[in-house]
Each structure stands twice: as structure tokens, then as C-alpha cells.
């Protein structure tokens, strides 16, 4: 698998941990490495404990690391929190020479005090200790000095030549200091990789370092999104800020609303009027949007909603990770209407799913939710290319102006077609004026029609619409083979893939099913897989087994489904998944535990004995 190293810098919010991590990740990427980042940050603007992990390797990475090679601790708490994750043989760099490793840290972890603050002061300002730390780190990990300096220069270019030069000097000071330290690792990557060729010699013009939020925003732009309205919330605010910067370039607009109800309302207004629009939010915002979601369902309005989950309920842990809104996303809002829920698990899928969501919203005339999660949208990863050319635009069945004019009052906006989909007109088209309503209505949009047959027909029509969705959407992505079926979705797919690769090296075979579309539920794809499997492990970030609940309801599998769940705010590491899967397949001694898990899975909250 090649070399694979994980570095972490930790300190307090407001001390430049984030920007140091960003610079380091970028420099590593420029050295031709594949990079995967993971931030652990508090909901406290200054002074809260924060850290930034950069994992680097010569093959694509989809998960954070099980263990760290090098930790830069700007403060004590970083030592307490992260030193225990250092691998045997790892290195702990501390600014404060009095610091020693804590209980729980591997015995052969070395503690190396480096006078980061002092060196920064010498370079011009003590606050640059984060940058000094980068110099130290590059030297220790064997990254190219010039690449790092160039990256730092770029980063501070906007702040004036003096600041810029000072920071470059800080890198140097760190680098030089670290020369005193025995080179612990062979060099990683090559300077030539930067903008030249990656580690495998491919041209680098197409290599990018970006986050899931970036990919989502890019996907929306590529798909023709023109209006974006949202209310700030972690971790979705990035999308607002991105769109506010780039939508004006295409004559569109992104702006902040008074609340999430207004945000989705604006998206619906735009969708009704024929413009692609989107909002992004997290749990609390999504809960507020619940009623408006149903209007999109009833009035058959296209709308795209990105739901980046975080730990709940209520405000929960705003800066941590979870996937505990799945059943809410699938079932929220009173009454019954079609919705489509896409579940990207990688950066590329964030991009493609968001772009696809606009087509689906217009084709099926319904809300489409891109169900993401904190880890997926915030972490940055290198990608080689993004499939921007794969974006297609399909605006669904629309009346032309001539058709609209010809139909005039004869137009049936909600015509009872076999597919359930009725050709749309939009305001401004002459002739076919019609009424859309959140009230029950007949095929012309007339409300207060009380005929039971009409009600039944209209309910059926709406629910029928998404039957054909599988022509446009893959419900799952299935890989590998074996008696054990592992089912997951969203960001845990990264650690699952890595865990399965490790198991495969030990000769343990398993089949992996990534749920790509959560609703309509891909029963036709998952059913046969569950039927064929001897055991099924459902890996998800919540306590009650929400994905497992959907599998059980839609497919069955009581008696052979076990839950692999984590709900402590942190994403799975590959090792955690590997360990839990080994338990599940670990022979007869473990069957009882499996059975207990299964029972829990099938009646999670009921406390049934």
C-alpha cells in the first residue's frame, strides 16, 4: 500500500491551527502526495481546543488515520488528546519543553521539544509559531522545503510583502531547527510533483485539494443553479459563502435569509418559476424546513436541499460528526409525497450527486435531498480531476411557449399521466395559467375538490412519479464478494473500504454495498444482496440503526443483520470498522453478541426483552 503518514497539529482556536493545517495539506499535495484531512474543532471561536490532521500517502485516501506519526502540540491539551493516538515510534513535538507524554501514549513515542514560539519571535512575531511548526514538520516528514515555502508565500500574498517574507522565514527557521533532529522518516513525495507530475508521473494540472462542501457548490454551479438562499449553520455555511462569491459571476444570486423556512421558501418560489435553486443546511435547519418540504411535495415543485448531518438532537454537537438524521430526512413532514434522497460517500459523488439532484428535481418535480454529513463536507481531500464533463442538464417535461399558448385554459398542470409526471408550464408563458397549491387539488390544480376518487387518483399520481427513478439513479454501488455483506452510506464508506482492503489482505472476503440513493429505497438492488448474504453488517454513525431500520423495513433480514454503529461525534477510523467486522465474522463464540446486536437493531428503541 505504499507509505502512509499522518501528521497532526493541535492548539487553541484563534492560534492559526487551521491555516497551518491547510497550508501543510496543500504543500503535501503539491509534493505529489494524496492527502486526506480531518479537523477536530470546538464551537468556541477563540481558545477552544482544536486540531488538524493531514494524512498523506501515494495512493488515494478516503479516511482519517487509525494512528498518527507526528503530533505538533501547541498546548498541553493537544498532548492529552492526541499523543495517545501516536503510533509506536511516533514523534510528539512540543513547544513547551516541560511537557511530557501522558499515560496511554505508546512507550516508544519520542517527545521532542522544539522552541516554536522562540523561533517565531526571532523570525519576527511569536504568533508565527504555527508556521515554524510547518518548517519543523516538513523537515521531519521529508516534504520539500521549497514547495512549502511557496505555499506559505501564496497563502500570505494578500497580507503584504513583509508579512509574507516573515512567514517564509518562519518556515525556514523551523526547517533549520529540525535539521538538528535525526531524520526519522524517509522523504515523502517529490517537489517535482508540484504542478508538474504526481507521484505516479501523471500530469498534475488536474489534481485538486478540496472539501465536500466545495464539491457540492461546484456541482450546483455546473448544473445551472442560479439562486441560492440559506441561513448560516455549521457545517453548511461554506456553501453559502462559496455561492455568494461565485453565483454573481453567472448573473445569479446567493444570500442569507431570516431563517431556514424562508430559505427553502425562496428555493420553492424559484423552482416554481423555472429557475434552478438550492439551499444547504444541517439538522436544526432541516427540522425547521419540515413543513415547507411538504409543500414542494404537494405542489410538485423542484427543489434541491443539501442536508449535512451533525450530532443531534437539537443543537447537539455543532462541530462534530454523525448520521442520525436519516429517518428524519426520509420521513419528515406530515402526509405522503415522493422525495429523492441521494447519499454521496466521496468528494466526487458530492459533486455528481448535487449536479444530478437538479435534474431529478425537475424531472420528477419533487424535492431532492442530498444527504451528506459533517465529515464528508468538511474534510479536504486530493482528487485527480473532477468529472465536470459528466454533468448533463435535463429540465424534465416542460411545455414550450407554443404548446402553452395552444393549450390555454385546457392545460392540466397535474395531468394524470401513466408515469405520474405532468408536463410543466412556468409563469410568464402565455396561455396556460394555472394554480399550484399545498391544498389537495385535481389534475387542473383546482382545490376544495372533495371527491374521494380524485383524492385517491392524485395521491397515486404523486407517489407513482419516482417509480422510474432507477433509470436515472443507481441505488447502490456494490464491490467485492463474500458471505458477509457490509452495507453503509456517506462518509463511513471510506473507512469501510479501507477496512475491507485490510481484511482482504488476510484472506477475509466480504461484499460491500454502498447505498447511493436512500429514498426511494433501492429494494430491488439490496433485496437480492441481503438474501444472498449469510450475515449483514450495517455500518452507520448513529445509535439506533437508522439505515438498518430502512433495510429491515424495506427488504427484511431480521436475524442476520448486525449493526456497526458509532455515535460519539467522531468518524470511524478504518481500524475501528475492521475490528467490529472481525467480531461479526469471528466464529461461533461471537454469535451471541451478534444476535444481541440484531435484536437491538430490529427494535432499537423499544427496549423489548
Amino acid at each position: 500500500m505504499g507509505r502512509d503518514r499522518a501528521w497532526l497539529i493541535g492548539g487553541r482556536t484563534g492560534e492559526g491551527v487551521d491555516s497551518a493545517g491547510d497550508v501543510f495539506a496543500r504543500a503535501a499535495a503539491r509534493c505529489g502526495l494524496e492527502v486526506h484531512t480531518f479537523r477536530l474543532f470546538p464551537p468556541i471561536i477563540k481558545g477552544g481546543p482544536t486540531s488538524y490532521e493531514v494524512r498523506m500517502a501515494e495512493r488515494p485516501l478516503y479516511a482519517r488515520s487509525d494512528a498518527l506519526d507526528c503530533v505538533i502540540a501547541l498546548d498541553d491539551e493537544t498532548v492529552a488528546r492526541h499523543a495517545p493516538a501516536l503510533r509506536p515510534g511516533g514523534l510528539l513535538v512540543v513547544d513547551d519543553p516541560r511537557v511530557t507524554a501522558r499515560p496511554g501514549t505508546a512507550p516508544d513515542v519520542a517527545v521532542w521539544p522544539a522552541p516554536l514560539t522562540a523561533l517565531a519571535r526571532e523570525a519576527g512575531d511569536g504568533i508565527m509559531r504555527n508556521i515554524v511548526a510547518l518548517g519543523v514538520s516538513a523537515r521531519l516528514l521529508g516534504l520539500d522545503r521549497a514547495v512549502l515555502q511557496e505555499t506559505v508565500r501564496e497563502r500570505f500574498a494578500g497580507k503584504g510583502a513583509q508579512v509574507c517574507a516573515r512567514n517564509v522565514a518562519a518556515v525556514d527557521a523551523g526547517w533549520r531547527h529540525a535539521e538538528a533532529h535525526p531524520d526519522r522518516w524517509p522523504p515523502l513525495g517529490t517537489a517535482g510533483g508540484a504542478r508538474g507530475a504526481d507521484a505516479r508521473g501523471a500530469p498534475c494540472r488536474m489534481r485538486y485539494l478540496l472539501s465536500g462542501n466545495d464539491a457540492i457548490a461546484l456541482g450546483a454551479l455546473a448544473a445551472g443553479c442560479r439562486l441560492y438562499a440559506s441561513y448560516p449553520i455549521t457545517p453548511a455555511s461554506d456553501v453559502l459563502e462559496w455561492m455568494a462569491e461565485h453565483l454573481p459571476e453567472v448573473g445569479g444570486a446567493a444570500f442569507q435569509t431570516e431563517d431556514e423556512i424562508a430559505a427553502l421558501g425562496i428555493v420553492l418560489g424559484a423552482g416554481y418559476a423555472g429557475v434552478r435553486a438550492m439551499t444547504a443546511t444541517s439538522g436544526p435547519g432541516l427540522s425547521l424546513m419540515t413543513e415547507t418540504l411538504g409543500l414542494a411535495g404537494m405542489a410538485e415543485i423542484p427543489a434541491v436541499i443539501v442536508a449535512a448531518q451533525r450530532p443531534g438532537p437539537s443543537a447537539g454537537m455543532p462541530t462534530k460528526h454523525e448520521q442520525s438524521d436519516l429517518l428524519h430526512i426520509v420521513f419528515a413532514s406530515h402526509g405522503e409525497f415522493p422525495r429523492i434522497v441521494l447519499a454521496p460517500g466521496t468528494l466526487e459523488e458530492c459533486f455528481l450527486d448535487t449536479a444530478l439532484a437538479f435534474n431529478l428535481a425537475e424531472r420528477y418535480q419533487c424535492p431532492v435531498i442530498v444527504a451528506a454529513d459533517q465529515d464528508l463536507v468538511l474534510k479536504k481531500r486530493t482528487v485527480t480531476g473532477l468529472p465536470v464533463e459528466e454533468v448533463r442538464i435535463d429540465r424534465g417535461e416542460r411545455l414550450s411557449d407554443d404548446e402553452a399558448a395552444a393549450l390555454g385554459r385546457a392545460y392540466r398542470r397535474y395531468a394524470l399521466t401513466p408515469s405520474g409526471i405532468s408536463p410543466r408550464a412556468v409563469p410568464g408563458q402565455p396561455g396556460a395559467v394555472f394554480l399550484s397549491s399545498g391544498d389537495a387539488h385535481d389534475d387542473r390544480g383546482v382545490i376544495d375538490v372533495e371527491d374521494p376518487a380524485v383524492r385517491r387518483a392524485m395521491v397515486d399520481k404523486r407517489l407513482r412519479k419516482t417509480r422510474a427513478v432507477w433509470a436515472d439513479v443507481s441505488g447502490t454501488r456494490v464491490e467485492g464478494d463474500g458471505d458477509l455483506l457490509v452495507v453503509s452510506l456517506g462518509s463511513p464508506c471510506g473507512p469501510v473500504r479501507e477496512a475491507l482492503a485490510r481484511l482482504a489482505r488476510d484472506g477475509v472476503r466480504a461484499r460491500f454495498l454502498q447505498v447511493r440513493c436512500l429514498w426511494p429505497f433501492p429494494t430491488h438492488e439490496i433485496g437480492p444482496e441481503v438474501a444472498r448474504a449469510r450475515r449483514v453488517a450495517v455500518v452507520e454513525h448513529n445509535a439506533t440503526g437508522q439505515l438498518a431500520t430502512l433495510v429491515l423495513a424495506q427488504v427484511g433480514g431480521h436475524g442476520k443483520i448486525a449493526g456497526v454503529r458509532k455515535y460519539d461525534g467522531l468518524p470511524f477510523t478504518p481500524g475501528e470498522v475492521e475490528g467490529r467486522l472481525r467480531e461479526i465474522i469471528g466464529g461461533d463464540g461471537r454469535i451471541d453478541r451478534l444476535a444481541a446486536e440484531v435484536r437491538r437493531c430490529s427494535s432499537h428503541d423499544s427496549g423489548a426483552s
Binding site: A29, G269, V388, P427, F434, G438
Partner: protein, 291 residues
Amino acid sequence: MATALTFKDFAGQKAMWCPGCGDFAVLRALQEACARLALPPHRIVLVSGIGCSGKITSYFSSYGFHVHHGRTLPIATGIALANRDLAVIAAGGDGDGYGIGLNHLIHAIRRDVDLTYVVMDNGVYGNTKGQTSPTTVAGTITPSSPSGAVEEPVHPLRLALAAGITYLAQGVSSDVPQLVRLIAGGIEHRGFALINVLSPCPTYDRLRTYQWWRARLVNLDEEPSYRPDSRELAVEAVSSRDASIVGLVYRAPGRPFQSRLPRFRPSPLASERLAPDGERARRILDARYAV
């Protein structure tokens, strides 16, 4: 459009309000105003809320969107941004607009979104059978306040002025010609226009009848000394004379949201022919994210 439009061009289904309901006058005035402005039905979007008042979209012929309770303004804002060529009119009740939906009103006003908002203010929740509304007079006995409403009513005109509105008017269902002028003026205004209409609900409100209003109302439009372009006069009028005024209360040059959004497309977004924009995505990728 060779022939002139009349209100009949905007006739929707037969209106099912109670006999004597003030909302008939609002419907008629809206139809007359649109005819007067020669706005063909397909260039109008009427967005209504839930309530007796909200049924107006069924009785008026244009593109119509009958949305959920209290949310006319976000939806109308989305439409107004999506297609700047449309006349976007929001309409609803006092519960819809000043109860559940009041926050959107204040924020739509400060955005100065270019749209027209007509509130059919009957001082009750008509459609749910007569409970108090935010404009119910304190002391009124209703099914939800059997000992008399204890809350002071909201003052929509005061709030709208305080929020920085650029077109503010109040009409009454007994004076359709004035209503027509006020609504037409609102539609012509570039910016957010609120027309509060005192619209009696004879079924659930025995107090505020047409006569009751007639005895109380002062018509600013007929006051020679009143100048609707004076903020001071407007503040004074709504503070001291309160709800008992009709006419154009205030008008200032609008600063519509649509025109202030940076680089916002002047022609309707809705008429843009979309093509996949991979190239732009690639450019941004290269500029922002290339390593």
C-alpha cells in the same frame, strides 16, 4: 394586446366567500388594478397563504401559487428573483401575514424586494372559525378568548414603517376605487409595497362592519396637507391616528433587492437556456483548488 383588458380577464372560479365578505372587494380591486395596468394574466403571479383570504388565488385568473400558512413572502421573493419580468403579488390574511408570517414581512421590507403584498385584514381567523388574530381589538370575545382578548393588537402600519418600507397604504373593502389605485400604485412601485385592507368578516366579526369603519376612517388621500412622501407625516399619522387612516400613507424611492444584488442578471433568470457549465467549474477548480 390589441384590446384593453377588463377585470373580467382575471376572473377565476366562482368566489366562495360568505355573502358580504370584504374579500370580494379586494378581489375585484386586484382585478381592476391589473386591468388598468394592462398586465396580462400570464405575466402575473399571485401567491396566497392559507385562510379565507388565501383562496383568492382560486378566484383570480393568473399564474397562482397557494402556499402554506404564513409563507407567501419567501415564496414570492423566490419567484420575483427568478423572473424579474413578472408582476409578483402576495396576498393573505392578517393571521397569515401578521401572526405566523410576520418575521418574513419585516425582512422582506428591509430587503425591499420588488413585489406587492395585499393583506386582507379582517381581525379574525376566518377560515378556522373566528379565533383572535393579531389585529383583534383587545377585549373582543372570540372562541379562543371567551373572556375577551387580552393582547394588544399589532399595528401593521407602524411596524412596516419602522422596518423601513418604501410603499405603504391602507384601504377598506367599502371603497373599491381607492383600493384599485392603491394596489395599482403598489404594483407600479419598484420595491416592496404593502397594502393593508380593512376587510370585514361579517360571519365572525360583528364589530368591525363596513359602517363601523366608515364612521372612523380618515382618508389621507383627501387631506390636502398630507404628503405621502414625508416620513415624518407618515410616522405621525400611524402613531397618533393609528389604524383609522386609509389612503397612501408613505412612498419613497424603492431600492429593490433585485437591483442591489451584485451583478444580478437584469433579464429574467427563468428565460436563460441552461447548458452544463463544466467549463466554469473547471476554471474555478483550477484557480482555487489546483495543487
